[in-house]
């Protein structure tokens, strides 16, 4: 079965063709990062307008040759309402004009299924760590549509903390890659930043206080005329943020008796995180699956992959399917007709 996936929840317009839920025939992503860079973040209205401009070219590039898909899978949430509407409207149009069924997909859940595209999805149950600009959560995946949150951020998402700290350091957008790039040149022990929630006894995260600590540290060092190299601050921030994420992930897996860990989301591209989590999992005897970077960031192939599984399980979306900007895990209706 040939599945067309469509994803427009945030700043990527993406479309992909996937055969039988696992074999990628195309995976097209038109990134709006350049557009957003000068604004220091994703500007929603710009996002929606750019999606309108990009969606048709992206679809034309993804649907190659004469082959028509048998199913269209689309992200219905969570995300920015205007951006989501562009993808969902395109999906409805294609579903209607080609006479093919449509299935709705939760963007966050799809991140946990990206490994299927590289033949590496573990058996249920497994632990999913999703880290991105808008999400930071640990969930136990017991089966299709059975994703239970174990812990999540109580304030800022991991990628959001990176973006805000990078902005304060004058490093630009997106903050994650920039900090990851310069951190190896700095001393991670140079600034004693807090490890928030480390001993909280649960799997929740709090990154807002760490962000504030970095800002206050910089202001204080400026006042004392003892400014630290930006590399040291970046390295120290990254060490603090990632230590909490890695320790809690390992602890959650251990406590819940899960031996497989899947990491996804844009921040899963971060080299330091991949390295630290990889080492921690190995020490603990856990198997870590982290897709290639192009499948960690937002993409439509993972939407097609999860859409295929949901279709096989009997899910369908009608032409009246809505978008859900605040969609929760497991929140996609089983059958919308």
């Amino acid at each position: 079965m040939l599945v067309l996936g469509i994803e427009t929840s945030c700043d990527e317009s993406a479309a992909a063709m996937v055969e039988d839920g696992c074999e990628m025939l195309s995976n097209v992503v038109a990134s709006q990062v350049d557009l957003h860079r000068k604004y220091g973040g994703v500007v929603p209205e710009i996002a929606a307008r750019a999606h309108v401009d990009q969606i048709i070219p992206v679809l034309e590039e993804a649907v190659v040759g004469e082959a028509r898909p048998d199913l269209v899978a689309v992200t219905v949430g969570p995300g920015l309402v205007g951006s989501l509407l562009v993808g969902v409207s395109a999906a409805k149009g294609l579903s209607w004009s080609w006479g093919i069924p449509m299935v709705a997909v939760n963007h966050v859940e799809a991140h946990a299924y990206a490994p299927v595209l590289e033949g590496r999805l573990p058996q249920y149950p497994f632990l999913a760590l999703v880290v991105s600009g808008g999400h930071t959560l640990l969930a136990e995946v017991g089966g299709l549509d059975e994703m239970e949150i174990l812990g999540q951020t109580l304030d800022d998402a991991l990628g959001e903390a990176y973006d805000k700290v990078a902005r304060h350091l004058g490093l630009g957008y997106p903050g994650g890659p920039v900090i990851d790039e310069i951190a190896p040149a700095g001393d991670p022990a140079a600034c004693a930043f807090p490890r928030p929630m480390m001993g909280s006894g649960d799997y929740n995260f709090s990154l807002s206080g760490l962000k504030t600590a970095v800002i206050r540290f910089m202001e204080d060092s400026e006042r004392r005329d003892a400014v630290r190299p930006v590399e040291d601050i970046a390295a120290s921030f990254q060490a603090a943020a990632l230590e909490v994420v890695v320790r809690k992930t390992v602890r959650a897996a251990r406590d819940c008796g899960l031996t497989d860990v899947v990491m996804g989301g844009g921040v899963a591209c971060n080299r330091a995180l991949r390295l630290m989590l990889g080492e921690a999992c190995e020490e603990e005897g856990l198997r870590l699956v982290c897709p290639s970077p192009s499948l960690c960031t937002d993409n439509a192939a993972m939407i097609a992959a999860l859409g295929y599984l949901r279709y096989q399980a009997g899910h369908r979306a009608g032409l009246d399917v809505d978008v859900y900007p605040n969609l929760k895990l497991g929140g996609v209706p089983r059958t919308v007709a």
Binding site: Y39, P44, A48, G133, L154, D156, H168, R216
Partner: protein
């Protein structure tokens, strides 16, 4: 009116007290630099309205709704103009049924009603201390007095 908060817990309590004097249709504009505690005030307001769950940063999705308590938490950090907040759908939540708290409200002030309460947070000398200024039109005066009494009483 000005108060001093000595901790995040203090700021949360102030938000809680504010939440208890609000009525549907009220809008609270939250102003202050990164890390001063705007989200903490909003979290306190949600708590004061009776919400018991998590209140994360709305930076990414712009608008977070807490339906059961009629609270709408907005963040204009990534927005460039009032029109963008209208495009994000804010008008639906300014119709009198909701209480709205808007972070970085200065970026989108023209999209918000003139009778809003403004809460401005600033870093003070000590690392955890914040100077918080509350102000609005005349109709806020009585309610802010209640907020101050509650805030100071709880501080013991």
């Amino acid at each position: 009116m000005e108060v001093l908060s000595n901790s995040g817990e203090d700021t949360l309590r102030l938000g809680d007290a504010i939440g208890r004097v609000l009525t549907p249709g009220d809008v609270v504009c939250l102003e202050g630099e990164l890390g001063t505690g705007k989200t903490v005030v909003a979290r306190g307001i949600a708590r004061g309205r009776g919400h018991r769950g998590v209140v994360p940063s709305p930076t990414f999705l712009i608008i977070h709704l807490y339906q059961s308590v009629g609270f709408c938490h907005v963040d204009a950090f990534r927005l460039g103009s009032p029109e963008e907040l209208i495009d994000a759908g804010i008008e639906e939540y300014l119709d009198g049924d909701w209480i709205c708290a808007v972070e970085w409200a200065g970026r989108v002030r023209a999209a918000l009603p003139s009778g809003a309460l403004t809460v401005r947070l600033e870093f003070a000398e000590d690392e955890n201390r914040r100077r918080i200024t509350l102000g609005g039109g005349g109709e806020w005066k009585k309610r802010l007095e209640f907020v101050r009494t509650e805030f100071e009483r709880d501080a013991g």
